[in-house]
């Protein structure tokens, strides 16, 4: 009797824990697919992004922006006889979850394209799954050069997967762009480089370091942090004693915020600069007043300043999403639109119906899309990279990110 009640309680607890987890992901997964018009074919656009956890601010911005693109296409009746809907899955910024999601998308025959993921490390685990099934994947945010140009991109560029595209530019450009700004414009010559050892962070730190030393700057110290911890006091003390004038951080805002704060409170009053992974309002929230004067580079021009983006910003506000479109909203919209344009072309070429090998045809069509998107002209080069290689430096002032300078990176 006693044994039985024990088992019952243990089981109940375990079941409770499991349902909570499951509920969570389902809750945040399947919203926004309310655009059924009835009749015709339904084409699903998958979204894979971190919808929960530390990076959810960016992930939810991606999901909502894709949702907006899909609703706009449906409203305009852009592709006759086809109704788009989204299916959003949470990868929790984990490569393993990303791969599971990829497998699930592949298994759903109505999915003709996927927007995502946020993290380059997650993309690495998904690329092959999609490529084996000729399902197109357009990432709005991955910046690791390996994904499109192969692991030896610095010497011989070779595209590993034909079904992978991205609208964001790469760290091969972003790191050096930051280095040039810091050395030439901000006139800082001594840098302390910190990264989180992940694909994105370490890659960015390396391309930054290479360019910075080439320009004549000096790296006075390097550190790698463990992204699971919040205690960077030992690192902050090292930074203070190194005599650095600036800290470059390769990584994302959940760590960058506390890191900036702890560096400043250790007594080193020097700015921190990072890539698009720290360009988020949450960074400022986490770092508090310590963030003032910190820098971030991000892909593209500020969405608010482009004429093509005004409509997007207005529509996003009008749609009433709870979360901000965040750093990748415009790119996510354009990624989704690239898939939608490709579907339109495939359907038009096939006399108004989806062909049986729609996935392969859509993938081929994405390679040749060209349209004016939210972030400017959207098209892809022979590696699947965006042809638009604009970047912007932002700085924290008055508790918000302010654009300092936009430009394209020259030389390399």
């Amino acid at each position: 009797m006693r044994q039985r009640s024990l088992i019952a309680i243990t089981a109940a607890l375990a079941a409770g824990a499991l349902t909570l987890t499951a509920c969570g992901s389902r809750d945040s997964g399947d919203k926004g697919s309310d655009s059924g018009k009835g009749g015709g074919t339904t084409v699903t656009i998958g979204v894979d992004a971190p919808l929960t956890g530390d990076l959810s601010a960016l992930g939810l911005g991606i999901k909502n922006s894709v949702d907006l693109a899909v609703n706009t296409a449906n409203k305009q009746n852009l592709v006759k006889g086809v109704t788009f809907k989204i299916s959003a899955k949470d990868d929790q910024a984990q490569p393993s979850s990303g791969q599971q999601n990829a497998t699930a998308f592949v298994g759903d025959s109505s999915v003709l394209g996927v927007v995502g993921p946020l993290n380059s490390s997650v993309a690495q685990s998904m690329q092959k799954v999609f490529d084996d099934n000729k399902l197109v994947e357009v990432s709005p945010a991955n910046t690791s050069p390996d994904l499109t140009q192969g692991t030896n991109w610095q010497t011989t560029k070779q595209r590993p997967y034909k079904s992978y595209f991205r609208t964001a530019t790469t760290d091969a450009i972003q790191g050096p762009f930051a280095a040039q700004y810091i050395y030439n414009k901000a006139k800082k010559t001594k840098v302390f480089v910190i990264d989180d050892k992940k694909t994105y962070g370490a890659g960015l730190a390396k391309t930054f370091t290479d360019e910075f030393t080439k320009l004549g700057g000096k790296v006075v110290g390097t550190e790698h942090i463990n992204p699971d911890t919040k205690d960077f006091s030992a690192v902050a003390t090292k930074v203070k004693n190194s005599g650095a004038e600036v800290v470059y951080y390769g990584g994302e805002y959940p760590q960058a915020g506390p890191l900036s704060k702890q560096i400043k409170s250790a007594g080193a009053n020097i700015p921190l600069i990072g890539g698009d992974g720290i360009y988020d309002p949450t960074f400022i929230k986490l770092a508090g007043t310590a963030a003032t004067g910190d820098f971030a580079t991000s892909v593209g021009a500020p969405v608010e300043t482009l004429a093509s983006a005004k409509e997007f910003v207005a529509n996003y506000k009008a749609a009433g999403y709870k979360d901000e479109y965040a750093a990748y909203g415009g790119y996510s919209y354009d990624s989704a639109w690239a898939i939608i344009e490709a579907v339109k072309k495939v359907v038009d070429d096939n006399g108004g119906k989806l062909p049986s090998d729609a996935r392969a045809k859509v993938t081929a069509a994405v390679q040749n899309v060209s349209f004016d998107g939210v972030t400017g002209k959207v098209s892809f080069d022979q590696y699947g990279d965006a042809t638009n290689k604009q970047l912007t430096v932002y700085s924290v002032a008055g508790g918000a990110w302010k654009a300092v300078e936009s430009g394209t990176y020259n030389g390399g």
């Binding site: 909570l20 987890t21 050892k197 919040k230 030992a234 090292k238 986490l286």
Partner: protein, 310 residues
């Protein structure tokens, strides 16, 4: 500039926090031989309790000198309620079951608590900012101490002193010692062991709550996952110091914190070791230290009883 004093202080501060949480592991283990893996989440719910008091109960702009004691009370209330509830509904029914059963329950409970905060606490899906104590940092020679750390500097020794007094001098404390030594005999001598066990859980939870507030003040943010890694470190601290020994828990925490700070600062200076010195290796060195201690002193730094109780 010599950074050793600062790094020692960094380590001691981090270690005090490990120690505060480790006390809960060690007390519960000392009395019921249960490793309460949900203790890290009790620490986490405490921090959220304090945040609730500050954000949702107190009026905006309340001075921290007024708010902090109330936040502490809120944190302790939440942590103790969660811990006592866990003891009553998750562990007590399993007290006579094989050791593995409560251990599994503890892990389930840990997940359930994390997910509950994630799902139901407002905006807890990513980190929430925690109020900070105003005022600049203090410099003592070369060493800088943050205002947020002052709380930790004061709270850790005070908590230890209170605990020592409680366990050594009060009736209930002696009852705890008796129960820890031999629950059956203690029961025969008229000790209400059920009550003692509840008190051990509650006391451990109160210290974890203090640790949770210290964490919030130190880092300025809390999140639903914060208990996992810190709980694991605190457990390591408890084992390092000798699980079951309350002074050992504090000592283990301090040793662990200092080891992490020093490994981050100095290992990369040793020739040939520059690859293993960064902060991402600090955890590795912490566990290497644990293994070394366990190899040469299996009962932990201050442990005495483990051999005859295991």
């Amino acid at each position: 500039m010599n950074e050793l004093p600062q790094q020692l202080v960094n380590g001691l501060l981090l270690g005090s926090m490990y120690g505060l949480v480790a006390i809960g592991y060690t007390m519960v283990y000392g009395i019921v031989q249960l490793i309460n893996f949900a203790h890290g989440e009790i620490f986490m719910t405490g921090a959220f309790g304090a945040l609730t008091v500050y954000v949702y109960i107190l009026p905006d702009g309340t001075s921290m000198w007024v708010a902090l004691p109330l936040m502490l009370i809120g944190a302790i209330l939440v942590s103790v309620t969660v811990a006592v509830g866990a003891e009553r509904f998750a562990y007590r029914p399993l007290r006579t079951a094989p050791r593995l059963a409560p251990l599994i329950t503890a892990i389930g409970l840990s997940l359930a608590l994390q997910q509950a905060v994630w799902a139901w606490y407002p905006q807890a899906k990513s980190a929430r900012t925690f109020p900070t104590i105003p005022g600049g940092p203090f410099n003592i020679g070369n060493v800088t101490i943050q205002t947020g750390d002052i709380f930790l500097v004061a709270a850790a020794p005070l908590s230890m002193a209170f605990l020592a007094y409680f366990v050594m001098r009060t009736r209930t404390g002696r009852g705890m010692q008796a129960t820890a030594q031999d629950p059956d005999t203690a029961k025969l001598m008229g000790v209400n062991t059920d009550r003692i066990i509840v008190i051990a859980f509650a006391l451990g939870a109160a210290f974890a709550a203090v640790g949770g507030v210290a964490y919030g003040l130190k880092y300025g943010q809390i999140d639903f996952k914060m208990g996992f890694l810190l709980g694991l470190k605190a457990f390591t601290a408890a084992v390092l110091g000798g699980i079951g020994n309350i002074y050992g828990a504090m000592l283990g925490g301090l040793v662990l914190g200092v080891a992490e700070a020093l490994s981050t600062a100095y290992i990369s200076n040793i020739p040939g070791m520059d690859k293993f010195g960064s902060q991402s290796w600090a955890d590795v060195w912490a566990f290497v230290l644990l293994i070394l201690v366990l190899l040469f002193r299996p009962q932990g730094l201050l442990g005495e009883r483990v051999a005859d109780r295991a």
